[in-house]
């Protein structure tokens, strides 16, 4: 549907430029793959931004292709690449950087924007987002839809439980105590409202877990992406806390909590607090029928969250004209005005301080303060977990996290297994 609409739009635009008697010069075609990982009419928003870009840049046509989840999108991109039909631009996880470098798929932005101009551009983004965008002295991705994990809470439920509705839990202990008070059971002992949900199903358990490990003072991998630290006591302790929420304290579901249905559980008051991406902010604002708050994640030894989300990459298999056009497109999509627009439409953090200075976003933040929480959390943020052969290492990590959460392995055993397997995979990159 999107494609047809794109085509129609493209045809209409082509028609209007022809009417404007523009000389028939060669058009540069770009194909642009992007995923959707949050709720809301994301494809419509992207189509709108692309249409505005085309209007501002006659002679460049962008075919925006919605390619599924992040995992689907990189699979499709790499398959297309090997089949010789690569997109020129794509939004992929910032953590896919090492994979894309290893596959020799992307060009560093330093090759396209040279010298001081490039340096100035790269430093215009929040440094927290650039950590996952740079490796071996080069910049491979430009931050686009970036996020951190934040805690959402239902103020109504807090009031009912006798808690201060304006105060979110500040520490792990507090979060557990609040969750105990918030967990409601019916006469036969079935839970009607959980205290807290931290999603553990799907592709993101490692990401939410990284919130816990960071707060407990652990760093999961080295800068080069060749070494992981899963079996450290601080990591096991963090996992124990997560497992206990479901199995011992019984304030969270004891099985897996799906990433996709967690916001719905929150809207339907099946959970009073949830951890999820700030990218869901607009979705929550539009659907929650009760006052809610957004807070930084609670602290253990420190505050902490991973950054997350997607970067814009430019691919090697493209003509110089396409690369120039792609660069223009990336510039446009991450410009302060567009970043502000994208942030307001989705909840992703606008990627540069300049975007927060635009009148539109300034006004939005004044009216809707939760929009600034994730930004204010950025100083505590660490780079999202990413290594060479990232998908495989992440799967090993996820599998073992799930095994611990389901109670088939102890946290210590699960992290030991994950460490051994990751060491085996990463052996050849050292």
């Amino acid at each position: 549907m999107t494609i047809t609409r794109r085509l129609l739009l493209a045809a209409a635009l082509a028609g209007s430029t022809a009417l404007a008697a523009a000389p028939a010069h060669a058009e540069t075609q770009l194909s642009f793959y992007y995923p959707v990982a949050v709720g809301g009419p994301v494809t419509k928003i992207v189509d709108g931004m692309v249409a505005d870009f085309e209007k501002a840049n006659p002679g460049i046509k962008v075919k925006a292709v919605y390619a599924g989840s992040y995992q689907d999108t990189i699979a499709k991109t790499l398959t297309a690449l090997k089949g010789g039909d690569s997109p020129q631009v794509a939004v992929l996880l910032s953590t896919d950087m090492f994979t894309l470098i290893d596959e020799d798929a992307v060009i560093p932005y330093d090759d396209l924007v040279k010298g001081d101009e490039g340096k100035k551009w790269f430093s215009s983004f929040y440094p927290g987002f650039m950590q996952n965008s740079q490796a071996s002295g080069k910049t491979w991705g430009i931050p686009f839809q970036r996020s951190t994990v934040v805690l959402y809470w239902n103020k109504e439920a807090f009031k009912e439980a006798g808690l201060d509705p304006e105060k979110a839990p500040q520490t792990w202990d507090e979060m557990r105590d609040f969750a105990k008070k918030l967990t409601k059971r019916d006469a036969s002992g079935n839970v009607t409202q959980w205290g807290i949900e931290i999603p553990s199903g799907g592709a993101f358990p490692y990401w939410l877990f990284q919130g816990l490990t960071t707060e407990n003072g652990a760093i999961l991998m080295n800068q080069d992406g060749t070494q992981v630290a899963f079996d450290k006591p601080a990591v096991v302790e963090a996992l124990q806390y997560w497992v206990d929420l479901g199995h011992k304290d019984k304030v969270a579901p004891s099985g897996l909590v799906e990433w996709g249905t967690t916001p719905k559980d929150f809207f339907e008051k099946k959970t009073a607090m949830m951890w999820t991406t700030t990218g869901n902010l607009t979705n929550v604002r539009d659907h929650a029928k009760f006052p809610f708050g957004v807070a930084m994640l609670p602290a253990k030894v420190r505050r902490g969250t991973p950054t997350g989300g997607g970067n814009l990459y430019i691919f090697k298999k493209s003509t110089p004209e396409q690369q120039a056009a792609a660069l223009k497109f990336v510039h446009f999509m991450t410009s302060p005005e567009q970043a502000a627009r994208w942030s307001m439409a989705t909840g992703y953090i606008a990627v540069s301080p300049a975007a927060f200075e635009t009148p539109a976003l300034k006004e939005y933040v004044t009216k809707f303060p939760p929009a600034a929480v994730a930004r204010d959390q950025l100083p505590y943020a660490v780079a999202e977990f990413s290594t060479h052969d990232n998908q495989r290492v992440t799967k090993v990590f996820n599998d073992n996290l799930q095994a611990a959460l389901l109670g088939t392995k102890t946290p210590a055993q699960a992290m030991k297994d994950a460490q051994a397997e990751a060491d085996r995979i990463l052996k050849s990159y050292k």
Binding site: D102, N190, P253, T261, D265, R392
Partner: protein
């Protein structure tokens, strides 16, 4: 292919004929076979051989091009616990879904083959799951299984039951997936049984009735043997499907939780198209091919003996 060999046997008796005839007929035979041979070779045989060769080479990486590694890929595979998990899951999946869907298909076919009011409607109802694409089926069942909101939990709630995370628990996830498969496959197989049942001449039933055979005896001695060719056909298809159909696993569990619903083909997909480990993926593919080949062979040899073709 078989014909020339056949002719040659006979040729032992008449040497002169053998020199002239086989050559001509074999040329004709080869010409007749050529289109399908070309198609099969291009899309099946050549890729299989290429896969086999690739499985002895390492995965090319940026700084290290592909090189010959012998059986390393296979050794890595045997050392990989996920491979064994996927293989075990796949066997459980096959053993669970195949007999169940065949039995249900047969029961449904016998039921709608009898004189019933509104049996056309009933046949259609049974067949509907087959018409739906697997992706749609997976979505329907996702709705059934979703903890809290799903149909199953809503029914359970009526009776005061608690929520069950069917797809999120290692004990139930594979079973939940298998139920979907049986639901989808049974209607398809029913059609074949129904067609076969209608081929059985009515005079057999009349003769049996005159002899005073019970309905069970008639089924066991007459109907079931006559259904054997169809059963073999269904069995071959069911076995292939058990290793081939994974669309619903993509939609519903993604192989999780912790590989509880990971099966061979899904594992191949992940290794090949998520981890881009060509060497490991080709080795796995060869194993899957070998398993399927052996199963098909066994079915034809063992079951083929018992099958009576009219």
């Amino acid at each position: 292919m078989r014909r020339p060999a056949h002719e040659e046997e006979r040729a032992g008796k008449s040497v002169r004929l053998a020199r002239l005839l086989p050559r001509r007929t074999s040329v004709e035979a080869w010409l007749l076979l050529l289109p399908s041979v070309v198609l099969l070779a291009t899309f099946a045989h050549v890729p299989i051989v290429a896969t086999l060769i690739d499985s002895f080479y390492s995965t090319p990486r940026r700084n290290r091009p592909s090189h010959f590694v012998g059986l390393d890929n296979y050794q890595d595979m045997i050392a990989d616990p996920i491979f064994w998990k996927a293989l075990t899951n796949n066997l459980i999946y096959a053993l669970g879904t195949i007999p169940a869907s065949i039995a249900i298909a047969l029961a449904m076919a016998l039921f709608v083959n009898s004189r019933l009011p509104g049996r056309a409607l009933l046949r259609m109802a049974y067949f509907t799951p087959t018409v739906l694409p697997m992706i749609a089926v997976a979505n329907i069942w996702l709705f059934f299984y979703t903890p809290g909101y799903g149909l199953l939990d809503q029914i359970a709630a009526l009776f005061g039951g608690h929520t069950t995370n069917w797809l999120g628990s290692q004990q139930t996830a594979l079973g939940a997936i298998m139920v979907v498969t049986v639901w989808k496959e049974a209607g398809f197989f029913m059609i074949f049984y129904l067609a076969a049942l209608q081929q059985i001449p009515p005079d057999l039933r009349e003769a049996a009735a005159i002899e005073g055979a019970s309905r069970f005896a008639f089924f066991r001695r007459v109907t079931w043997p006559l259904l054997m060719p169809v059963t073999l056909f269904i069995l071959v298809n069911a076995v292939i499907n058990a290793f081939r159909t994974i669309d619903h696993i993509f939609m519903m569990t993604g192989g999780g939780p912790d590989n509880a619903t990971n099966v061979l083909l899904f594992h191949i997909y992940e290794v090949g198209f998520k981890f881009w480990d060509q060497g490991a993926a080709t080795a796995l593919t060869i194993v899957l091919l070998a398993i399927l080949g052996l199963l098909a062979l066994a079915q034809f040899v063992i079951a083929g003996r018992k099958v009576h073709y009219q």
